[in-house]
């Protein structure tokens, strides 16, 4: 649905009074904070690599490709990540899942090859955000080294091995538990009211943005 004009809220910059417009209170406020750091005597440097930093939960490091319950690659090769990627570092070749193979039961399409250039990547996390089935996720691994450029183009197997490595380490839990093709394809668990993704019924996104909707 297009954005409704009523949903847009315009915000004006607050006006400044005389003292604020001289910027002197802000300058002295800043100097006070700097001064307090000079005299408080706390150490802020880490003894890396002996001491590893504690990273926030949303840290964006090396990618992984998740597996589903059957151990298959969860990715359905929809290429939304490659489309969303601003650095064009993802290249996927899709293929049809073999119809007679019980391993691929219920799947139409999977990535024959999935290559991600970790050097081109800018670690913005857009791929993770775009993925409709939570197949690609960014982990806490930040110390990425290699001796050649080719070594750092991760293929499907390498990305799956990152999953095996990180899924139980505590820092990178498999964050969501959506179905094969996102919540919208899970017919049995569809919410009574609300959009396909599991947004609560009282969420603004669950409400129709424009008038003229038949409410039940």
């Amino acid at each position: 649905m297009p954005i409704c004009a009523d949903d847009v809220e315009w915000v004006e910059e607050p006006s400044m009074n005389f003292w604020e417009s001289t910027f002197l209170p802000a300058i002295f406020g800043g100097l006070q904070i700097t001064g307090s750091h000079v005299v408080d005597g706390k150490t802020v440097t880490h003894q890396y690599p002996e001491e590893k930093p504690v990273l926030p939960l949303h840290y964006r490091g090396v990618h992984r490709l998740n597996k589903d319950e059957a151990g298959r690659v969860k990715c359905v090769a929809c290429m939304m990540c490659a489309t969303a990627c601003p650095a064009h570092c993802i290249s996927i070749v899709a293929t049809e899942a073999p119809k007679d193979d019980p391993l691929w039961n219920g799947r139409d399409k999977f990535p024959l090859s999935f290559e991600l250039d970790e050097l081109k990547c800018i670690y913005c996390g857009m791929c993770e955000e775009a993925c409709p089935c939570d197949a690609i996720e960014l982990t806490h691994i930040y110390d990425l080294v290699g001796t050649t450029r080719a070594e750092l183009v991760f293929d499907k197997n390498k990305l799956l091995s990152v999953y095996d490595e990180t899924k139980d380490c505590g820092l990178d839990p498999v964050r969501t538990k959506r179905g094969a093709l996102s919540g919208c394809s899970e017919f049995a668990t569809l919410p009574t009211l609300g959009p396909a993704t599991s947004v609560k019924a009282d969420d603004r996104a669950a409400k129709a943005p424009s008038p003229g909707v038949i409410h039940d």
């Binding site: 929809c78 093709l181 996102s182 919208c184 394809s185 017919f187 009211l193 669950a206 909707v213």
Partner: protein, 559 residues
């Protein structure tokens, strides 16, 4: 003039014109969403997506609108018809219809090939509700990959618009597809053991407004939003169907028909749709070659171009009556003109001949009838003449030497030893040069072959110039009916191969770059038969060369 009012706009009908609400609104620039309606097929009004309010403006100026909605596709307009497409009643009907259509739709857009050009996606976004209230499990029907050699059916995505069924019944006349079962068990299917393999079958994939019918050839190859299209013309036969060439990163993925009332209508045949695979063949010439000793040695353009020019100049000077050129009916008008201009400029005694015109069987007309009798009203013809531009090349040859010399004549001249020099400008991937012809060509003092594929003839040449396939060059094709259409460069050729127009432009010692529209205007100036090409830009429907109507030149000629 009869006037029809659509929302806040009005249009005037031509005398005797019959339009339905969708067509009238389209002319006013207003979209009435629809799935089952297609201008080339009969109207069934089954999808209910085009529901609008329809009323009448009385002579006294009052407007009366019945308090209900009508299917726009099935409601004809007349003088004073008032169509309302944006009232609350209409918008509510569209929302409700879409909710129904999506009840059993699996919403597997991530794996669906149609995503990005899908009617359900587009209309859900524009007119839909954005969420479902269905609290029951959806119907899941098994996929059917046995529907046809080139088509596969994802049954659960189908919205039962029956466009495909009507196409096979009314257009191809073969009637392979049908609906089995009733109610929510409805499915598209074939009759047992009778797959949909007619020569127009690929069109049902284009007709399908959702991702139910997919092309096996294109399945999972690309996401459609990555494809970049260029307008072109199918070279498969002399019908000259208007098409679009879809490519990404210089790889051609598919051809799609474009609507052109002057050429073929809405559709194209499967021979053309899937017959372009030679473009990415391993046998494509990737660089120019020059004869060294007994064999060919790879060369480069900087070395070959002056050498070819000198060799042709010397040979024509030595024996002008014994020099000939064979111009394939697969080349564009511009290329034929540039080569004719070059050789006739060297000596008017040089012979120009038309290349081999392949014909296969007879014209194949649709719709097919049960009895096998020819159809009463021909809706589509696959022509026996398998080349796109015989008339265009003939027009050039007639101008330069008064008559068209056929390939058979020049071949017998060659075999009788009457020729010493030969320039073969070929672009036909299946050109038939017989073993006798190749044997006779061995005796030539100069043989220049400009082609796109490796061939026995090219192996005997003194110079081989790597040319381009039709999707890799720009130019003009003239179809069986005298319709001149422009083709555009969709993909780059492999390796060092160059568009033929560029090669011939440089052989003519012309400055600057080859541009088809400039050459087209030059041809129009010089050859009366091609006068309508003075437009330069032929537009998306092309221009008729033999039309009696005056050609309207655009206000501003492109520089």
């Amino acid at each position: 003039m009869p006037t029809v009012y659509i929302d806040d706009k009005s249009i005037e009908l031509a005398p005797g014109e019959k339009l339905n609400c969708i067509q009238a609104a389209e002319r006013a620039g207003i979209e009435i969403p629809s799935y089952c309606y297609h201008p080339a097929l009969s109207v069934v009004a089954s999808c209910r997506m085009c529901l609008v309010e329809v009323g009448e403006k009385k002579p006294d100026g009052t407007v009366s609108i019945p308090p209900k909605v009508f299917p726009g596709c099935q409601t004809p307009v007349k003088d004073g018809t008032v169509i309302v497409t944006n009232s609350k009643r209409v918008l509510d009907a569209q929302k409700a219809t879409l909710e129904y259509l999506l009840l059993n739709h699996p919403l597997d857009c991530p794996v669906c090939d149609q995503a990005g050009e899908c009617g359900l996606q587009d209309f859900s976004y524009k007119y839909g509700r954005g969420y479902s209230r269905l609290n029951e499990p959806k119907n899941i029907k098994p996929d059917k990959d046995y529907i046809g050699e080139q088509i596969t059916l994802f049954t659960d995505r189908c919205i039962m618009c029956t466009r495909c069924v009507r196409f096979t019944r009314e257009y191809s006349g073969t009637g392979e597809l049908q609906i089995i079962n009733r109610g929510s068990h409805e499915e598209i299917d074939i009759f047992p053991g009778q797959p949909c393999n007619n020569k127009l079958a690929g069109n049902v994939v284009d007709l399908c407004p959702v991702g139910a019918l997919c092309s096996k050839d294109f399945l999972y190859e690309q996401r459609v939003w990555w494809l970049k299209g260029k307008d072109s013309v199918c070279p498969g036969c002399s019908t000259g169907c208007s098409i679009r060439v879809d490519q990404n990163n210089d790889v051609l993925y598919r051809l799609k028909p474009r609507y052109n009332p002057q050429a073929q209508g809405h559709f194209m045949c499967d021979e053309g749709r899937f017959g372009w695979k030679y473009i990415s063949s391993e046998k494509r010439l990737r660089q120019p070659y020059q004869k060294q000793g007994a064999g060919l040695a790879p060369s480069n353009w900087n070395a070959v171009m002056p050498a070819v020019k000198t060799a042709i100049g010397t040979q024509v000077k030595a024996a002008p009556t014994k020099f000939a050129a064979i111009i394939s009916p697969w080349t564009t008008v511009e290329e034929a003109y540039l080569l004719a201009k070059l050789l006739k400029g060297l000596s008017p005694d040089v012979t120009l001949a038309l290349g081999p015109v392949r014909t296969v069987g007879g014209d194949d007309q649709y719709p097919k009838t049960v009895t096998g009798a020819p159809p009463k009203e021909v809706k589509f013809t696959i022509r026996a003449e398998k080349c796109p531009n015989r008339r265009g090349v003939e027009g050039v040859l007639e101008h330069f030497q008064g008559s068209v010399i056929s390939f058979e004549t020049i071949a017998s001249q060659l075999q009788s030893g009457a020729l010493e020099g030969l320039y073969v400008l070929n672009a036909d991937p299946e050109a038939m040069f017989t073993a006798d012809f190749v044997q006779a060509a061995k005796g030539l003092k100069l043989l220049v072959v400009q082609d796109l594929l490796e061939s026995p003839l090219a192996n005997e040449a003194h110079f081989v110039l790597a040319g381009a396939a039709w999707a890799e060059k720009e130019g003009t094709f003239v179809n069986h009916n005298g319709l001149a259409q422009s083709i555009f460069r969709g993909v780059r050729g492999p390796g060092e191969a160059r568009p033929d127009g560029r090669i011939l432009w440089e052989l003519n010692d012309r400055k600057g770059l080859f541009r088809a529209s400039t050459v087209r205007q030059e041809i129009a100036d010089e050859i009366v038969a091609f006068a309508p090409l003075i437009l330069g830009d032929l537009g998306e429907h092309g221009v008729m060369l033999n039309s009696s109507e005056p050609v309207v030149a655009p206000a501003l000629q492109p520089a």
